[in-house]
Structures are given as C-alpha cells and as structure tokens.
Amino acid sequence: MRRLAYQAAAVAVALLVVGYLAHNASINLEARRIASGFAFLEREAGFEISESPFLRYGASNTYLSALLVGIGNTLRVAVIGIVAATLLGAAVGLFRLSKNFLLRTLAAGYVEFIRNSPLLVQLFFWYAVITEALPMPREALSPLPGVFLTNRGIYFPAPGSVPVLESFNFAGGFVLTPEFTALLLGLTVYTAAFIAEIVRAGVLAVGRGQWDAAFAIGLTRGQALRRVVVPQALRVMVPPMGSQYLNITKNSSLAVAIGYPDLVSIANTAINQTGQAIEGVAIIMAVYLTISLSISAFMNWYNARIARR
C-alpha cells in the first residue's frame, strides 16, 4: 500500500510539473506569436551552408534539407573521428607500455596534457593554428606533390581533378576546410588520449601469466601481444570504448563554436530565424539520442559476440 502511494505521488508530481510548464509555454508562445509544431521544416531556409559533401543544398531549400545536411556533417566528422581516434589511441596506449623510455614518456606526457585541458580550448587552438600559422594559398606548404596546406584549407588531388592555384585560392581537387580539419583534429587528438588509457588498462588487465605462457611456447613479444593478449584485452576494452565513441559523436556538437555546419549549428540558426526553440532543441536531442542508442546497441551486440568466443 505504501509502495503504491509513493509511486502514485511521483507520477502525480511529474505530471503536474510537465503540465505546468506546458501551460506556461502555450501562453508565452501565443504572446510572442510563435507558431508551434514542425510545419516550419517545410519552409524555405534562406541561408547558405558552407559545406555539404553528401547533399546538394542551396539557400532556397527547406529547413528540413538544411537539418539533413547538418546530420550528414555530424556523422561525417564523427565516423572519421572514431576511426582515427581508435588508431591513434591504440598506438599511444601501446607506446605507454613500451620498454623504450622515450616512447613511454612521450606517450604519457601526451595523455596527461590532452586529458587535462578542455576540448573546446583545443578546438580553438587547432583552428588558430590552421588559420594563423599556415600560409596564404599563394605561399602554400606542399609536403607531398599535389597536397597543399593553406590557411583556407587543405587541398588534395582527387581522381580527374588536381588542385591548381588561381588568383586568390586553389581550385579543383579535394578540400578539407579549416573548420572540418580543426574539428576532426581536435576530436581525434582529444579522444585518442582517453582511448589510450582504455587500451593500456585493457592490456594490463591480462595477467602476467598469459605473457609468460606465450613466451614459453616461443612467441615473440609482438606475437604474444597480437595472438594472446589483445584478444583477451578486447573484452575489458569494448564497453568503455563504446562510451568514447558516444563521446566523439556528442562532442562533435562543439562544431558550433568554430563554425563547422553540424546539426547543432544549423539547428541553432533555424532557432534564431524562426524562434521555434522547443522544436529545434527537441530535434537536436532526438537525433543525438537515436545515434547514442544505435551506438550502444551495436557495442552491446559486438560485446556479446566477443564474449561468446
């Protein structure tokens, strides 16, 4: 009886709070003449988006297509970031366990310094490095033939199209904008420091006896790592890795601070233009929740698969 009463009270309080807020919102929206609902998605957006690699988009397209471009841009930086951070993080994590003092110390310094300063500061730093320290297109650095580093972006040759310097900038080829490059670099470098710690902890969690056994049957250090230790370490590593992948995706929303047109930055523009804050924030949250739940589902499936082996 007491149990029922407590729960009924909790539900009642929750409903009252929600009802009260909804009531206030409807009055406020009416007073400010803001329409509610998702009809604005069909209207013309009227703003340009600086990069849209997957969809053709122009200012005359709808808010819906603008948001889809944003989702595409979020996924693009998140997916590439996840792959790059995993590779860099795994390398740094193994370097931290190296017998070589120089390698070990460099890796440890990297992890400590990166983990202890905010990602947003690092994003601004990379953006400043690209836009301030890299030269103008006229004096572009060319570390490899056909590749040009400039403060307007990084140009690569693409099949059938090579970047060529025109009066003010390069044309042709394949370009990474300063915003995308800074965001990708920032997310990768930041998350790799956390992944390195997961990899290190995972390898350390495998008992000394496993190494000894591997050496006893004549495996080298590298073979022991690859054949014996890593398969066991993976089981410890998968759950925390999953949450780092979630973090990359969520942290890609900091794009708004350096002007990369991700979902949050485009939704923010839409909110400012239409005043429909509730719908805008709801869309942002719904998209991220969907991505988060998909990544968790995938990681759970993968975890179950490797645990069975």
């Binding site: 206030n24 919102a25 120089l102 300063s117 400043a128 708004v256 949250m285 991220y288």
Partner: protein, 340 residues
C-alpha cells in the same frame, strides 16, 4: 649505462624507435623552443610582436587583467582576486580527509557568504556589481563549485532511485539519467538559454547566469549518479541483508549503512568526473557567458592584438591544466590510500 641499455636500446626494435624518434622530433622540438622562448616577445608591445618570428607572450601580459576578471570594474579587481583565492583555499581545505566532518558544511557556508559579499558588494562601502559583469576565472570556478555542490546530492537521489524497488521511481530515474547522458551538453545549455524562458510564467525572468548554472547542475547530476551507482553496487549484498535483519527502515539503512560505504568507494572516480565537469564548464562560452575561455576569446578581438590565437589558447590550456592536473593527482592519491 645500464639504464640506457635497458630503457632506450634493448633490442634492435627499441634502438630503431629511439633513433627514429630523435631524428624525427629533434628539429620540430628545437623550432618550438625557438618560437616559444628564444624568439618570443614578452613585452606588451603589439608592434614588436608583429615583427618577431616567435610567440607573443606580451599579449597575455597586456590582457591578463581582462582574462582573469572579465568586465568587472577595473579598480575593484581585488574583490574577484580575493574571492578566487578564497574559493581555491576552500577546495584545498576540503581535500583533507581529516576535515570531512559535518562542520565542513559550515566552513563552506561562511566562505561562500564572504565571496558573495565581495563579488556583489553593496554593503560595507563596497560598490554594488551586478552578476552580469562577473567574468573570467572566478566565474569558471563558481560555475564548477555550485555545479558540483548541487549536482552531488541530486545524483545520490537519482542513483538510489535507479536501484529502488519501486518500478515507477526506477523508470523515472533511468529515463532521466539516460536522456541526459545521451545528448550533448550544448543541447542542455540551449535548453536553458533559449527554451527555459518559454517555460516560465509570464512576468518571471531568470538571470542568464542562473539558467546556465541550472543546466550544468542537471547535466552533471546524471553523470555523477552513474558513479554513485557504481559505489552502491560495489557494496557486498550481505550489508543490505544485515541492515534488513536489524529491522532498519529504508532511510535508516541508506543513511547509516549503505551511503557511508558507497560514497567512500565512489570518491576517487567522482573526482575524475569532476575534472570532466570542470572542463565542460567552458561550454558556457557558446551561450555567451563570460567565463575564462570567453574572456580569452574576446581579448583576441582587439584589432591591435589580432592573430595571437595560438598563444592565447595555449595560455587557456595551461590554466585549465593546472586545476585539472591537481585534481587528477589528488584522485590518484585517494585511490592508493583507499586500499590500506
């Protein structure tokens, strides 16, 4: 010699790695040293900075007052300065396990009252300064302090709720925690800055600083709750059973048996979560609050000093690093002590 052989040249792989690293890194490291120290300009002189090939630390020297104190009235800067030192002092004082007694709450209450009086003023002949003009380091520290202070009790309730035997309460807590942890902090901050005003009764307004603080508390509570839950799960089942056998009620069991043990286990990982939260406070920049990172970014908009972003953000990283690294050392020390 023995150390060198074991740590740098054990086997040909290690030797190759050492040689390669030195060959690859020597030049860039020397270039960075040249840039940061030898060719750097330390005087606050924009002309000399533009001509020099090295870093312009003079920018920091010129702007340090604005970076640390934001738009707080210039001749009153001693007030946020004293408040900052006092707040740091309170944290250092609280880090001593010996002082974890009930009177610590009173010390904090007294300390925060003094900080409030200093920052707002309006009494004892101190001119009144509205909180819209607070900025810089003290704002970052206050956001973090109040965020942790309110999120922590809330997180305990959420964690207890998540492990509660009442299905409705459990569902509400799980829903809240997973919702917040599934979305980025920016979306919660947007909720507070653009959505919350729509939910308040007409005529009621809420200060921008307060709204951001509320968002940070609600956000941090979900993350802290998961750490506290870890502590709750780490306690042996027999502890719960013994408390039940003694005939304790739920709240007696929780306050006298479960929480003292669970929080003891949860403190080191909580400190790590606090590091993450401290870094996350920098996101208030996006909704236009004048925290430490914002003051640094704004000082870069001075046309005389344009183009020194790399120096400015390195300085920002160094300031955050000092606080975060101190916390991480503290957390490591707690972990090793806990074992004994």
């Amino acid at each position: 010699m023995k150390w060198l052989r074991e740590n740098l040249f054990s086997g040909w792989v290690s030797t190759l790695a050492t040689v390669l690293l030195v060959a690859l890194l020597l030049k860039p490291v020397l270039q960075v040293i040249d840039w940061a120290l030898i060719d750097a300009v330390w005087r606050p002189d924009p002309g000399a900075c533009q001509d020099a090939s090295g870093a312009c630390w003079g920018f920091i020297a010129e702007k340090h007052r604005f970076i640390l104190f934001g738009t707080y009235p210039f001749e009153q800067h001693w007030r946020p300065a004293v408040s900052t030192l006092l707040l740091i002092g309170l944290w250092v004082f609280s880090s001593v396990r010996h002082f974890w007694r009930w009177w610590l709450a009173l010390v904090w209450l007294a300390g925060l009252t003094v900080i409030g009086v200093l920052m707002w003023g309006g009494v004892f002949g101190l001119p009144y300064v509205e909180n819209g003009r607070w900025g810089g380091l003290i704002l970052t520290l206050l956001l973090a302090t109040f965020g942790i202070a309110f999120a922590f009790p809330l997180s305990i309730l959420l964690a207890l709720g998540r492990r509660s035997g009442l299905p409705v309460i459990r569902a509400l807590c799980v829903g809240y925690i997973e919702l917040i942890r599934g979305v980025p902090l920016i979306s919660v901050l947007f909720m507070a800055s653009v959505m919350l005003p729509l939910f308040l009764p007409s005529g009621v307004t809420m200060d921008k600083l307060l709204r951001a603080q509320l968002a940070l508390i609600l956000f941090a509570a979900a993350y802290f709750a998961e750490v506290v839950r870890g502590g709750l799960q780490a306690i042996a089942q027999t502890q719960y059973e013994m408390a039940d056998a003694l005939g304790l009620t739920y709240w007696q069991k929780t306050t006298y048996v479960v929480l003292p043990q669970a929080l003891r286990i949860a403190v080191p990982p909580l400190v790590n979560t606090c590091i993450g939260f401290f870094k996350d406070t920098s996101l208030v920049l996006i909704i236009g609050l004048f925290d430490l990172l914002t003051t640094i970014k704004v000082s870069l908009t001075d046309p005389r000093w344009a183009g020194f972003g790399v120096e400015a953000y390195l300085f920002a990283a160094a300031v955050y690093f000092l606080f975060c690294f101190a916390m991480s050392l503290y957390s490591k020390r707690l972990e090793t002590k806990q074992v004994g």
